[in-house]
Point group: C2
Chain length 128, copies 2
Amino acid sequence: MNSDEAIPTISDAEWEVMKVLWDTPGSNAPEVHARLQDRRTWKIRTVQTLLGRLVQKGALGFEKNGREYLYHPLFDAETCRRAASNSFISRVFDGRLAPFLATFVESTELSAEEIDELKRLLDEGQEK
Amino acid sequence: MNSDEAIPTISDAEWEVMKVLWDTPGSNAPEVHARLQDRRTWKIRTVQTLLGRLVQKGALGFEKNGREYLYHPLFDAETCRRAASNSFISRVFDGRLAPFLATFVESTELSAEEIDELKRLLDEGQEK
DNA sequence: TAAAACTGATTACATTCGTAAACCAAGCCC
DNA sequence: GGGCTTGGTTTACGAATGTAATCAGTTTTA
């Protein structure tokens, strides 16, 4: 799994494809297409275009297996999510996490259970 | 301040302009340009284009003052940030906030002070 | 009052993105 | 063995984005 190279920028539509391949790496285009059925109404051509672009960007790799291509992520999900999060927080919240979290807390979009879970997470972080 | 209408989608570059106008609403193009000097090397033409697009999108309004236009946001910052955050979290984290926060906690990108602040925020949310 | 300076409007142009259709090669079916 | 099916490659095309240059109107200035 690559970790040194610059993490490519992944577009909205491309995220869906990446998520499928993190879940089941080594899928070919029809398989990815099938696994997106419930969320997106994309034609298989659309999925192939996205796969091709992700390969070009260096986000995906593939091996040929006979005439089919088996795609797999070149970066793990954590790495990509972290990069996207940092970029988002810095763009919208000037890099400050607290105001971001405050947005959710104040708008009561969090259940009591979620709040507990988040507090537990923070506790764990503090112990390290 | 508008709050009923659909919140427009604001692009990366446009966020910078919005942030200036939330800070000092009623600025004209040259003023916005000046306030961006430290962060961006945009020409004033670029800033004017962004202002125009934001007006078109319904994110900004303006009044004429003689020959100059004074721009002001039509949505408050909280509203826009919340919309952007929801969209981001649902795109990248399938709508679940905990994994997002875990990303930051695990990567030790948070100082002890920040963790304390976040916990305090969560406590406040819980009291409501 | 004619030129200079300031401000906004219109037009431009290359990239990226969303969404494919068209085209082509390799197996498979009869 | 010549289509039909399946899988991938190339090309397309409009909207959004980043980044302006040019044009035009107004006010100030020499």
